[in-house]
């Protein structure tokens, strides 16, 4: 399996894992380990000044896992840029998963504001990984202005619906000059395998792992599916046909 290169970093694992929704930090740590991932997403929120704050970063070995802070909660470009700069100050690195989601019901990304924020952040030296709807035109604009990847959604965040936007993601992959990371909505390992078989460069999974009955086993299942899909893509699938083609010899029948 070839390495995935994003900006100046190489990744052996093509599965990125989100750290939200885990029942405990210990469980999150174990699931991350089982997933084989080398990059995990995190969010920024206000400190609770009245109660004790949980330090989830203590559960993430930053020598093994690259942090990818997101801008979740941003409703427009200005908020996303502000969050990105705070994330850079907090993490010490300039990698950002750019997401601008003004609508809390479907959490669909605002393409116009995402593009606007991406321009500012690229100019400011950020490695920008934008979360977008599966819009090939927008994906092209984002790669043209210097984003490090494009991250089209498979279906709405946390919905576990799988590859609803498959046809558009195929176009994005065809025209991509940067890695394509399928993000959001991948609910089963088979969805991840499907994305990888199509030629996606990586997948990002959170809810499907964190909300599983056994997140550690599910993380392992996603690891295997992502690898299987990638190997299949690199190998090239055997051609499809409209009629049967016998696998067993058509001679020597016992009749």
């Amino acid at each position: 399996m070839g390495l995935l290169k994003i900006a100046d970093r190489e990744f052996a694992s093509r599965l990125f894992v989100g750290t939200g929704k885990f029942a405990s930090n210990a469980l999150m740590k174990e699931a991350i380990e089982a997933s084989g991932t080398q990059m995990v997403t995190v969010a920024l929120r206000r400190v609770d000044i009245e109660n004790e704050n949980d330090n989830m970063l203590a559960a993430i070995d930053r020598k093994r896992y690259q942090l990818l802070p997101n801008t979740s909660g941003a409703r427009d470009a200005n908020e996303a840029v502000r969050l990105s700069r705070l994330a850079r100050a907090a993490s010490g690195i300039a990698w950002i998963k750019l997401e601008v989601t003004p609508d809390p019901y479907y959490l669909l990304p605002d393409g116009e504001e995402t593009l606007k924020a991406a321009k500012t952040l690229v100019e400011d030296g950020f490695i920008v990984l934008p979360y977008i709807n599966a819009d090939p035109i927008l994906a092209k604009k984002l790669q043209d202005i210097g984003c490090a990847t494009v991250m089209p959604l498979a279906s709405p965040i946390g919905s576990n619906q799988g590859m609803k936007t498959k046809a558009s993601i195929e176009i994005i992959i065809k025209q991509a000059t940067v890695p394509v990371v399928v993000d959001a909505g991948l609910g089963a390992p088979s969805h991840a395998a499907e994305a990888m078989e199509m030629g996606a460069d990586a997948v990002l999974v959170n809810t499907a792992i964190a909300a599983a009955d056994d997140p550690v086993q599910m993380a392992l299942a996603f690891k295997m599916a992502t690898e299987a899909g990638r190997i299949a893509y690199e190998t090239g699938l055997a051609p499809e046909s409209q009629t049967a083609s016998a696998s067993s010899p058509l001679t020597g029948f016992l009749r």
């Binding site: 939200g20 969010a43 400190v47 000044i49 989830m56 970063l57 946390g158 959170n206």
Partner: protein, 70 residues
């Protein structure tokens, strides 16, 4: 003399007066400075500058940290 600071959108009263700098504020709030990033009136304060950043009642202070997210 008690004083009030605006932190994360809420007003917090300090009976002993305002902590003299950002570092002391975090100590007073029992927050590990290594886990937070601060913003005062929209300007990010680097961790190394916490100690030399004075506070006053007119400021809007934001204390932010990483949490789990996708």
């Amino acid at each position: 003399m008690s004083a009030v600071l605006k932190i994360n959108g809420t007003e917090k009263t300090f009976d002993e007066g305002i902590p003299s700098n950002l570092s002391e504020l975090l100590t007073a709030l029992e927050i590990d400075a290594a886990t937070v990033v601060a913003e005062i009136d929209g300007k990010i304060i680097e961790r190394k500058d916490f100690e030399k950043t004075a506070l006053n009642e007119t400021q809007s202070i934001e204390l932010i940290r990483f949490v789990g997210g996708g």
